[in-house]
């Protein structure tokens, strides 16, 4: 029981990070019409920025600022590249996947060659350590609490933006019917650039939560996470935001349970086999997709 509870908390904390990542990824699919495989990579690079500033200045506010602005800048800088690709006639959403894969590989290479001599980075103990509560074997760490609470707040804010503001209405209009959105005079490019900004803001926030939860990052973290995010998003139904919420959490919990009850590192095998089975049964994803 204690293992179960501990792993449940673990899983929910990890899952809530997956949820945020899938949400940003899906926003890109829906509004910008791209498969942004490099999105988790941008998050990891922002973690590096956070770590570097923290190391140099030891100032938490500066580090957070550097983290979020790095993420926003990276996402916005990628916009013209993706716009060029998606504007080409007769090219579908898969072309953006190939381009983002390229970007992801370049970022991994940069990190593994030139950042921190290619070694994984570790955040200072003042940033991550400290458990808040302990019940027997079950321990809730500061990182887990931040990840959970931060994700809930971020998801609520995101859905508020999407369903309660004018800007969100424009996002939904473009996602649902690009032609009709253009017809009624919504500036598609401008709105799309704003979606990159929102994805960047969210990405910076994820980077902070992830650094608090894991306490470290490596050059390969991004690609590793990207594969999971892509898989979760397909299993839930590409571009299905609500599906992403459910499946992201489920992935976190499944992984944590596998880690708690099976020896060694079987957690990836377990979660990917489950996803494989789901996709075999429901190729459109559990919650359906509107992306063709």
């Amino acid at each position: 029981m204690e293992v179960f509870l501990a792993q449940l908390i673990n899983g929910l904390a990890l899952g809530s990070i997956y949820v945020l990542l899938v949400t940003g990824f899906n926003l890109m699919i829906l509004v910008a019409r791209i498969i942004q495989f490099a999105y988790p990579q941008f998050v990891v690079l922002s973690m590096y920025a956070c770590w570097e500033v923290l190391r140099l200045t030891n100032n938490v506010f500066l580090a957070v600022f550097a983290c979020i602005s790095t993420s926003i800048v990276l996402n916005i800088l990628s916009e013209p590249i993706f716009r060029r690709i998606t504007n080409m006639k007769g090219i579908d959403i898969n072309a953006s996947f190939v381009a983002s894969l390229g970007i992801a590989i370049v970022i991994t290479d940069i990190m593994s060659h030139s950042l921190n001599y290619g070694f994984p980075i570790a955040f200072p103990t003042s940033w991550v350590e400290g458990s808040l509560a302990r019940f027997g074997l079950i321990m809730i760490s500061k990182g887990q609490l931040y990840a959970l609470a931060g994700s809930i707040i971020a998801v609520l804010l995101f859905f508020y933006l999407l369903y309660r503001t004018k800007q969100g209405r424009l996002f939904r209009a473009i996602a649902e019917n690009r032609f009709a959105a253009r017809l009624i005079g919504i500036p598609i490019v401008k709105t799309s650039i704003f979606s990159y900004f929102i994805a960047g803001l969210l990405g910076g926030f994820i980077a902070i939560l992830l650094s608090l939860l894991l306490g470290s990052a490596s050059p390969w973290l991004g690609e590793f996470v990207a594969l999971k995010i892509l898989a979760v998003s397909i299993v839930a139904g590409l571009g299905n935001l609500r599906g992403g919420l459910v499946c992201g959490l489920c992935l976190g919990v499944t992984e944590a349970m596998a880690m708690g009850y099976l020896s060694g590192s079987w957690s990836n095998v377990v979660s990917f086999v489950i996803m494989l089975i789901i996709i075999l049964i429901k190729p459109q994803g559990l919650f359906g997709t509107s992306i063709s």
Partner: protein, 239 residues
């Protein structure tokens, strides 16, 4: 009759899709307060012309709206300057509510939102009744009304409407044309593309007949209704 102001003037407008010439050097004029019908069979190029005006399809030639050349402007700029297109088929945001659809229509005209909303609800009371209903669950006729209402929310100087009768029962079609006439009496200028020539000409002051991308006839509605060629080809001699 006093000379009316020119709202839209199109000169030598062509639209091509690869090897297909959908519109060839078309000339057309719409004056303030007029209903102008654009008549032609399937594939004649009506939709292509309307899309070209909004720069949704890239045209060649000249398009003057209120005296300014808009041919190289972006769609959102053209809509902002006061043209709206109510497209063929019921192109609505079907997962959103009726009210959200109307809000989106007001994207370029949010400052007199309440006034425009009141006007739309006066024309289409059903939309007020159903304002929190998901648009995709409306009937075909109601969706067409929503589509028109959404266009009106931008308070356009020129309404372009593409085949409003498509797929609707005769009773609803009659209602819609009735509303178009009312809108015109209120002062709206309308460019109406239709296959249903009889209905369109009854509603319009003037008309243009389009055949495989070319205007072959033009004139007042009365002239076109009595023209032997037009009657034979498009009206089936039934007028």
């Amino acid at each position: 009759m006093k000379k009316k102001n020119n709202i839209l003037k199109i000169e030598n407008l062509s639209v091509t899709y690869g090897p297909i010439k959908a519109l060839r050097k078309a000339n057309l004029e719409v004056n303030e307060g007029e209903v102008v019908a654009l008549i032609g069979a399937n594939g004649a190029g009506k939709t292509s012309l309307l899309k070209a005006i909004l720069n949704i399809e890239k045209p060649n030639g000249k398009i003057l709206f209120l005296g300014k050349d808009i041919i190289s402007k972006s769609t959102d700029n053209i809509v902002a300057s006061g043209i709206c297109l109510i497209p063929e088929g019921h192109v609505i945001f079907s997962s959103m509510t009726v009210f959200e659809n109307l809000q989106l229509g007001a994207y370029h005209n949010s400052y007199d939102f309440d006034k425009n909303l009141e006007k739309v609800f006066a024309y289409f009371p059903i939309l007020q009744e159903r304002s929190s209903q998901i648009a995709g669950t409306l009937s075909g006729g109601e969706q067409q009304m929503l589509s028109i209402g959404r266009g009106l929310m931008s308070n356009p100087k020129l309404i372009m409407i593409d085949e409003p009768s498509l797929g609707l029962a005769p009773k609803i079609v009659a209602d819609i044309f009735e509303i178009l006439s009312e809108l015109n009496e209120e002062g709206y200028t309308i460019l109406l593309a239709e296959q249903n020539a009889k209905k369109a000409l009854e509603c319009a002051h003037r008309g243009y007949v389009l055949e495989t991308g070319r205007f072959i006839l033009q004139g007042t509605s009365r002239e076109l209704m009595n023209n032997q060629k037009a009657r034979r080809v498009y009206l089936g001699g039934s007028v």
